[in-house]
């Protein structure tokens, strides 16, 4: 009962013009920032951090959390419209969102991504409110062995990402893992494969690689196939560009499953929305009656990706608020915001400053409603953008990609990396080698290596099998690769 009265008090604190304007501004800024490739949710929160200095602790946190929440959705807009994920967690949204746009169904992609984001956001917040404490206790039981196993489980999604091309997927994921070793070794600090080039000490920045592999390679393929001379696919004027309520309802279980999964994964520090969306997408594809439609414009794929990455926001706030451990890089910036306002994240935050915590919880519900309203308003504009001819759109994508790649580290080297990866992605796609597993390998590479070596140092390889949670995750990962592989072999009569 206490919980609900605290929540009502929190909601009461938000009932005024100023708090509502703060939340609306946070949501609007978050959507815009997320839609810009190169501006990650953590960067958006960090950029706006100084604006919270003059606010009360509650309002400052409310503003930053609204930005964090909305930027996760914003990343999906460019993923759907131009195959350029605005944030790393929107990579998976592009798998089915962009094919839908290519078919002239951008409305469905945008509608589903918005509704799934909002649904996932609500699921994440409800779980955050109800289960903060037990989930935080579970996350504390994770050792490096479990993190390694979790990352391997994430890696096992290549079985889905490659669209049945197993051998090519394994090659691509290993290429991603190998490229990820460039830079300083995460444990010893030894310089690896940098050729003494200082800019390579931090390895390849993830965003330029992402933009190159997804956006530029797509543009190069479009130029090669002569798409610059073809008029864009016109939407069917007979039907509304938006999905019907029935179409949304068909996806309800996908959203709920992905929402819960995203929250749970979001709780684990370092896992975050990107891994959550990869795993949720994979689960959805496996459960689907029509798995072959995934990657070709399946609304369930968009729903799973978006619901999971939005719900991971709620998950990431669990260890942040209850233990003072950030569940994601954006949550790490939020710790800074708490400290600026003399608030120590951890169990005492709930007892000493319940008004701050519950105002924040309530504000997330309100922010989700604003996200739905502003998202619906903005999406009408994005649908019109899909009608721009490719010969006009492609040069803008190049220019936009430059900004996105440059903004991360203010480095022209990164823009060059983006171009090189664009050409690499184009060449690989021509040979039917999927590029998504490369990204997956680069995302999970550091997590896998660090936790593998730490576990070996702590007690050897046997530790992976002695810890029940780690063993369970590894068995799940093994099964999720081997079972579909055997099924596929039986179906095709042999051959990878």
């Amino acid at each position: 009962m206490d919980l609900f009265s605290h929540l009502l008090d929190g909601l009461g604190a938000l009932m005024g013009i100023t708090p509502l304007l703060v939340i609306m501004a946070g949501v609007a800024i978050g959507i815009l920032a997320g839609a810009m490739p190169g501006i990650s949710p953590s960067m958006a929160v960090a950029l706006l951090l100084p604006f919270s200095f003059g606010m009360t602790p509650s309002m400052g946190l409310v503003l930053l959390c609204a930005i964090y929440l909305a930027s996760n959705y914003g990343g999906s807009i460019t993923a759907v419209m131009v195959n350029t994920p605005g944030t790393p967690s929107a990579v998976v949204t592009a798998f089915d969102g962009y094919p839908l746009t290519r078919k002239g169904d951008a409305g469905t992609a945008l509608g589903v991504s918005l509704v799934a984001s909002v649904a996932g956001g609500f699921i994440g917040i409800i779980i955050l409110v109800l289960f903060s404490a037990p989930l935080a206790r579970m996350a504390l039981k994770f050792w490096p062995a479990e993190y390694f196993a979790l990352a391997i489980l994430g890696l096992s999604t290549i079985a889905s990402l490659g669209g049945g091309r197993w051998l090519e997927s394994f090659m691509a994921v290993l290429l991603g893992l190998l490229l990820n070793t460039i830079g300083l070794d995460p444990l010893s600090g030894v310089s690896r494969f940098t050729f003494d080039v200082v800019r390579l000490y931090d390895g390849f920045s993830f965003i330029p690689v992402l933009i190159g592999l997804f956006a530029l390679s797509e543009v190069f393929s479009g130029i090669e196939s002569g798409e610059v001379g073809i008029p864009p696919v016109q939407p069917d004027k007979e039907r509304s560009p938006w999905p019907t309520v029935r179409e949304y309802l068909k996806l309800k279980y996908s959203m709920i499953r992905a929402g819960i999964l995203g929250t749970v994964i979001g709780v684990f520090p370092g896992a975050g929305g990107t891994i959550a969306s990869f795993i949720a997408y994979d689960v959805e594809k496996r459960l689907s009656k029509d798995p072959d439609s995934f990657g070709k414009g399946a609304p369930a794929g968009v729903a799973a990706a978006e619901a999971s990455n939005s719900s991971s926001v709620g998950g990431a706030l669990v260890p942040l608020l209850t233990l003072g451990i950030p569940g994601s890089s954006s949550a790490a910036v939020l710790i800074g915001a708490l400290m600026i306002h003399d608030l120590q994240p951890g169990p005492e935050l709930f007892t000493r400053h319940p008004e701050v915590v519950y105002t924040l919880f309530s504000s997330l519900f309100v922010a989700n409603i604003f996200l739905l309203l502003l998202g619906l308003l903005g999406a009408r504009l994005w649908i019109k953008a899909a009608l721009i001819p490719k010969r006009l759109l492609y040069p803008m994508i190049f220019a936009f990609s430059f900004i996105g790649s440059y903004a991360v580290r203010s480095s022209l080297f990164d823009v060059g990396v983006c171009l090189v990866f664009g050409l690499l992605g184009w060449l690989l796609s021509r040979s039917k080698i999927p590029v998504s597993p490369i990204v997956l390998g680069m995302i999970l590479g550091t997590m896998i290596e660090k936790n593998l070596r730490t576990t070996i140092m702590m007690g050897g390889v046997s530790l992976f099998f002695q810890r029940p949670l780690s063993l369970t995750l590894l068995v799940l990962a093994f099964a999720s690769v081997v079972i579909p592989f055997i099924r596929e072999k039986k179906r095709t009569g042999g051959g990878l």
Partner: protein, 184 residues
Amino acid sequence: MDSLLVFLGGVDSFPVWILSFLAVIALTAFLTRGKHAPFRGRIIICVSLLFLAFAFFLLSFGLEEIEAVGSSARTAPRLWAAGLAFFTLDQLRRTLLGKAPEDPKTGDVQRVLLAAAIVAFSLWGMEIVGYLISSGGMILLLLLLFGERRLFILLSLTGGWMLFSWFVFIRLLHLSLPAGIYFG
């Protein structure tokens, strides 16, 4: 051996690596005439990946070992390079046996290369004339390359982008975009 590894891992070895890579590709292209010609692109990609795996494996011997840390910086690169070589060799075997899909029909590759060249040129130009002029020039050239001839569209898109990026990225977001040597 140690001095060779130090050389190969340094910036001075770039020409050696690039020339070796080009030689391997040229040799592969030469050897894949005849019945393997429909798979040439795929074979070249496989050989490139094998070259990459070999390079990483070789260079891993030159990585410094720090005993106190208790685990080696060489472990992961060797593991991934070996895995990549294993799967790529199998792919190569399947391709040579004709079990892999043939290369797709070549489209307008010339236009792709021209577009990439314009983008690379613009990237180089950013250090000289700055982001705004360079990206504007790039947009104009790409529009022309893609067949746009309407003067109003050419000028409004180029100018519009320059204005937009100046206002949003420089004025509003305070991104320090390259200003170039003349305007910096």
